[in-house]
């Protein structure tokens, strides 16, 4: 029934109204003072060269992204494991250690190779 969704529609309306209100209010009372530093995508960190949309990324970001995937997968595996650990007993416990040791080999390799050093 459409009436069941009434709270949702109300919620949407409130959200739109509130954000419009906040944006208008800040527009009215904030100082307007743009300068080049402020208009850059990042105000701090690495200076950018060209547009990101041209595919110009510093290669170190890729290394970080790959390392992130490693740990992301590990976490995804750890959560369901933790839930059923009691049922799996000793085998499950050991099995996870095997998995983590294999991951650690890769991590140690990346670390010693200097993947975590930031060269600017």
């Amino acid at each position: 029934m459409p009436i069941d969704f009434l709270p949702v529609f109300l919620m949407v309306a409130v959200v739109i109204a509130l954000s419009a209100f906040i944006l208008t209010l800040s527009r009215l009372i904030r100082p307007h003072n743009p300068y080049p530093e402020k208009n850059r995508p990042y105000e701090c960190g690495v200076d950018h060269v060209g547009e990101a949309s041209a595919g110009m990324f510093k290669v170190q970001y890729f290394v970080i992204a790959i390392l992130f995937v490693v740990f992301d997968v590990e976490t995804m595996f750890l959560f369901p494991w933790a839930v059923v650990l009691k049922d799996m007993g000793l085998f499950g416990y050991v099995e996870m250690f095997v998995f983590i040791v294999l991951l650690l080999v890769g991590f140690a390799y990346a670390w010693i190779k200097g993947a975590l050093e930031w060269v600017s």
Binding site: F91, V105, Y109, K113
Partner: protein
């Protein structure tokens, strides 16, 4: 699974575990650079391969399935694993010198070779489509990196990128076929799938679609025409030992999967693929043989030659039964030793990857290096299929199986086309023995390559002298696989 099942499963996959552990240890060792590291890592890899081979032979005493039927150790998988060990060990022996001259000696090379080997081993032992696919990807990902191992060489980089794109594409096709098969049968396990497929009509369009994608994905991996376009570029650009590795170990594993799927467990798909594979086999033989005639780069020529040999393997598949299976297995054994032997010679002749491997480099070899030239002669004769070398009997048994199965016309085609193929091998022999060379190749045979040459030479000659014994071994393995 209770604890005893788990222990027996771990034991059954012992060879794979040994290889992966070896790769991890080699990876850690490669982080601490020291003089003579290449030799150390190569030695470690060889020891690990020897251990795994010993374990595989022990496990073959009592065939068993493990991991709930997803993984199998039978005569069939053991035979193929032995081929994989042999191919990888020979590759390692010829690699050290090449990496030295190309200034690319990094420990990761051996690690990647071991990971590729373990992937190939999982492929041949997989009894479940997902396991086979995981093995295939592990092998392919390692080989992608190996192909691009000469980081400063643009040909190597180009080859790696092409291989990644085409490999991902073909894996996608294969995976689509597998997912359709899963949808039709509700299982990924090969035996259960075979039973479930018995009740599906072979005329069902969905089953035909699934088979087409499965076959195309697999043919892509062995480089059969019309899915062969990647082979010459990638074989040419890759470092020579890696080309040897791909053309033997990579091909052996892919053919093992094809045999396991198409002849053994999913044999009921036969009427769907037979007609198209017949056409593909003849086209592969023809295109490989004719295109090789005009090549001036030895690796490119061997790439087309390897396509043509792939055609012969498909003929063995078409012959089917334990005869056809055994003939393909024997063919792979002989092709592995012969091809890697020739690649050892190519590594010796290497004048730098930037120069390219011109066929002219072979000219005058008989004068400057008579021993190496003689071995190259035997390898080339074997690839051409001329007695008394192993290559003759490899082709002979495929043809016998083909005629026995009633495909006389195909056999006639194969003989005619291999006569054409013989010409470009003979051209290299002509260059070695008849031509003069102002700048003869100057090289010292290092002990490692010397061993590789001795093993491959002995293998090529022995399979030519005692073909019946080797056929007996592969027949026993083939029957074990069909049983």
């Amino acid at each position: 699974m209770d604890l005893t099942q788990i222990t027996s499963s771990v034991l059954a996959s012992g060879p794979e575990i040994i290889i992966i552990l070896g790769a991890c240890v080699a990876l850690m060792l490669s982080l601490v650079p020291r003089p003579g590291q290449g030799a150390l890592l190569a030695g470690l890899s060889l020891v690990m391969i020897a251990l795994a081979a010993a374990m595989s032979l022990t496990l073959a005493q009592n065939p068993q399935t493990a991991y709930g039927g997803m993984f199998v150790n039978d005569g069939f998988s053991t035979f193929f694993k032995m081929l994989l060990y042999l191919g990888t060990a020979l590759t390692i022996l010829i690699s050290d010198r090449y990496l030295g001259t190309e200034d690319a000696a990094k420990g990761e090379y051996y690690v990647l070779l071991l990971f590729a080997l373990s992937g190939a081993m999982i492929m041949v032992s997989g009894k479940d489509l997902l396991i086979i696919y995981v093995g295939l990807e592990l092998q392919a990902l390692s080989i992608y990196v190996l192909v691009g191992f000469l980081t400063t060489n643009t040909r190597s980089n180009e080859a790696a990128l092409k291989y990644v794109i085409l490999g991902a594409f073909s894996s996608g096709l294969l995976l689509f076929g597998l997912s359709l098969l899963y949808g039709l049968t509700g299982t990924t396990q090969l035996e259960a799938m075979g039973e479930a497929l018995d009740s599906v009509e072979t005329s069902s369009p969905l089953l035909a679609l699934a088979t087409v994608f499965l076959i195309v994905g697999l043919l892509f991996k062995v480089g059969a025409v019309p899915f062969h376009m990647w082979v010459p570029d990638i074989y040419e650009g890759a470092p020579s030992p890696v080309t040897g590795f791909m053309s033997t170990v990579g091909k052996v594993a892919a053919v093992a999967v094809i045999l396991r799927l198409l002849i053994q467990d999913l044999a009921m798909l036969d009427p769907i693929w037979r007609g198209s594979v017949e056409a593909v086999a003849v086209l592969t033989l023809a295109a490989g043989s004719f295109a090789a005639l005009v090549q001036t780069n030895i690796k490119r020529m061997l790439a087309y030659s390897s396509i043509a040999h792939g055609g012969f393997l498909l003929l063995g598949l078409l012959a089917g039964g334990s005869e056809g299976l055994a003939s393909v297995m024997l063919y792979l054994l002989i092709f592995t030793v012969t091809n890697l032997g020739l690649f050892a010679v190519i590594v010796l002749l290497n004048r730098g990857a930037g120069q390219g491997e011109n066929i002219q480099d072979f000219s005058g070899l008989a004068k400057s290096q008579p021993g190496v030239a003689l071995m190259a002669l035997v390898f080339l004769l074997s690839l051409a299929g001329i007695p008394p070398t192993g290559g003759f009997f490899a082709k002979f048994y495929v043809l016998v199986a083909l005629v026995d199965a009633g495909f006389v016309l195909l056999a006639v085609f194969a003989v005619l086309l291999s006569a054409i193929a013989a010409w470009f091998y003979l051209r290299v022999i002509m260059l070695m023995y008849m031509e003069q060379n102002d700048q003869p190749a100057v090289f010292q045979v290092s002990p490692a390559i010397g061993w590789a040459l001795i093993v491959t030479f002995t293998g090529t000659v022995l399979t030519g002298v005692l073909p019946a014994w080797f056929l007996g071994v592969s027949k026993a393995a083939a029957t074990a696989g069909l049983g």
